[in-house]
Point group: C2
Chain length 458, copies 2
């Protein structure tokens, strides 16, 4: 029984595998913060070494204008299929730091969970995939199909350099499918596959009303207040019924079909209640759509950050001359990020009082939404494996999150992407106290190995 | 000629007087920040020593629940009038630090100005008043009338302990007039007196939508965003025509009379253009009122600070669970700060979506507006002195600023307050690069001395 011998392999290497997971969780590879540049390099170098150690014949650190890409190749047989394995080694910033119960890069273990920024998103998926590959190689000397590996350090900041790399190198990256490790489960203990990922657009708005902050008594009554201008603008982004109020925002959005709604309703039936899951005191959103329809299939605009004036302890009676706002739109198939940024820009121009300065700086490297055909061969085989391993059928579900690169794989390589990862719902990805369950580590190892086997079959 | 001999005294002590001004500007007596508590004590102790050195017979450091009050008494003659001299030795916080061209507590001199937090508001007024007193005493051995001194360290945070002190000690603080040193000029080189000061109300709003920040992809479409809730609330505070939209806000406001408008128009004719003065790109405010009517005579609401979510470098696609706002209302005669805070509270309750938590914490110790009768004896005498010293008649003008204690002097002691100070318009009080002109130092010394003489006449 191959599966059993695998389990033995994972069991007998349990400590080593856990220790290497802890090691990489302690590297603060925050891609958005220039202060962490060397940590990204350290993390990339670790992956290179680890892949060489497993026996991947060709591993390279590809320098980019940003953080490096780890590229690997293991060509086993012309007649076999080619799988491109994708993942990222960067993480979101850990702020707000004071809300972490243990340090974000301490990798503390309690209650059967390991707590760290990047644990769920997605260093443990990456590590367990490599551990699965090691197990296969220790048994067969090589993987069951041809592999291309691409691990980037810029997923959390838009993957711009990997996109460029894919566009330029598409010819030599041809593959039959992509396996993205950047994923999680729809319900605790219930396996599933992201079948739809949203696209994104967004950026920063900077408001300026004058040359200097002013005394609110001396001038407040007669001059614009940058915070007030920003608040009015920010309030203009949504209608009272929860829709995005930007003109043209929904023009390209395709209505949900009955089949779409049925698929979402089925996945919602196994997924936790959104309110319970999120810890909010009340739900909110676009009227006419259920919470998981809003999350999985309707475009949004979120104000990620907003600030202006005096924000310290105590009081300072100032009329501020500048205020700032960061926003992100989550887009659905057919919406174009560049067009959405132009619509945002036009909306701002329309809603800012004359004589006040407003600039909009769109973040680079957003991508369109992606949706995999449900009958794709790799998705079907992987689903069958997960059904065997877990004893329950995996759920096809949509996420409101973006893995921009999935759309680019389709665009540049013509390949569909199967997303499979093992973080459990409830883990606060992108927020304090992100966690990954220890019990999911061996399950991830076993599943990744079995999926590789199945994809390698003729 | 007394005046000439005075000028000689000030000239021959010029260096010493300037050095002591620089010394006290270097003490960061920021009353709102607990980290600076010992600097407030240091500043108060300096004043005590300086007054003793001049010869003030009784000087005491009165401890309070907050920063100490310096109380002094110089009783010269039962038959003479009693003048209560008021000032404050605390300053506003220096934020945003990065916009200062030299350190806020460095007291750098360039282009004929001394740059420091507290230079205009109001350490140089305080220092030059004491220097004027020193000159008088060196000449006559005592002041020309009975003096009570009250210098507090909490003006920038609402004067709550001085208010309590005045209420409790009113019996032994009886006086014929108050001279407040917390003032400035209506136009550069044109002397004037604040004849109306606004009252205040305000506090902090804290919004909470749930237990933790969330991934904007995972949940943003289906949960409230604290920034968005705050923005809608903040945008609800004003009508499109620039009025405060809080129900009942204007109920007690008395309409401007023709005489009021004429007085304001006259002062506006000598004052600099509000737009030019403030450096804003456009004016704003309540329709139907001229800029100086808005500033001097109409109540306002200013958003001093606003923040929520990710405000760092780069991007973090979070749906924040909390957001915050600091606001200040400037009030006109007849409006009651406590009532205004209750109206703000009711407005918030009405404008927050069900299921979202919002708390309003009113700042303590705001006060009502104050207006001095234009025929007050002390105001008339001081005005006559200023006319002599400057060779032009002083302007009676209204400020949008608050010196809350003026209302309390009237309430507790029945005394009217003459406000006379020497900062020039254009200095960014409460903002970076606050300055005071060197040439105004001898003028302040001369004027304060001459005003004391005039008030001491029978």
């Amino acid at each position: 029984m191959r599966a059993l011998s695998r389990s033995n392999y994972f069991a007998s290497n349990e400590d080593r595998f856990l220790n290497e997971i802890i090691d990489i969780l302690r590297i603060p590879s925050v891609s958005t913060d220039p202060a962490h540049k060397s940590d990204l390099v350290r993390m990339a170098a670790w992956i290179v070494e680890r892949m060489k150690q497993i026996g991947v014949p060709t591993v390279e650190l590809v320098e980019t204008a940003g953080h490096p890409i780890v590229e690997g190749r293991w060509h086993v047989d012309e007649g076999r299929k080619i799988l491109l394995v994708y993942g990222h080694y960067d993480v979101q910033p850990p702020d707000p730091l004071e809300l972490w119960e243990s340090g974000p890069f301490e990798a503390a273990i309690r209650d059967g969970k390991i707590f760290a920024r990047g644990s769920a998103d997605m260093k443990i998926n990456l590590a367990t995939f490599l551990q699965a590959l090691e197990a296969i190689v220790s048994e067969h000397g090589q993987p069951p199909l041809n592999l291309i590996f691409l691990f980037e350090g810029e997923e959390e900041i838009g993957s711009s350099n990997l996109k460029r790399f894919l566009t330029e190198q598409a010819g030599r990256l041809a593959c039959d499918a992509v396996l993205s490790l950047d994923s999680g489960f729809p319900a605790v203990g219930v396996p599933g596959f992201f079948v739809a990922l949203k696209g994104g657009a967004g950026g920063q708005i900077d408001i300026r009303t004058g040359e200097t902050d002013l005394h609110s008594g001396g001038y407040g009554a007669a001059v614009p207040n940058a915070n007030q201008v920003l608040a009015k603008l920010a309030a203009s982004f949504h209608t009272p019924d929860g829709r995005v109020a930007i003109e043209g925002f929904y023009d390209r959005v395709v209505d949900l079909t009955d089949a779409d709604r049925a698929e979402i309703a089925y996945s919602a039936s196994v997924m936790r209640d959104v309110q319970e899951e999120s810890g909010v005191y009340t739900l909110w959103g676009e009227e006419g759509y259920a919470p998981y329809e809003r999350i999985g299939a309707r475009p949004t605009l979120d104000i990620n950050g907003m600030w202006g004036g005096f924000t310290g302890e105590g009081a300072k009676t100032v009329t501020p001359c500048e205020a700032h706002l960061k926003l992100t739109c989550r887009l659905v198939p057919n919406q174009d990020p560049d067009e959405i940024n132009r619509l945002i820009q036009a909306h701002i121009a329309k809603h800012i009082p004359e004589g006040v300065q407003a600039t909009y700086t769109a973040r680079e490297s957003f991508s369109s939404a992606y949706s995999i055909p449900r009958d794709n061969w790799a998705l079907q085989r992987a689903a069958s494996v997960m059904s065997d391993v877990y004893g329950i059928p995996p759920v096809f579900f949509r996420t409101g999150g973006s893995v921009p690169i999935t759309h680019v794989f389709k665009q540049t390589l013509g390949a569909e992407t199967v997303s499979l990862g093992f973080f459990q719902p409830g883990t606060p990805i992108h927020a304090p106290n992100e966690w990954f369950r220890l019990e999911d580590i061996p399950m991830a190892q076993r599943s990744y190995a079995a999926v590789l086997d199945a994809l390698g079959e003729d």
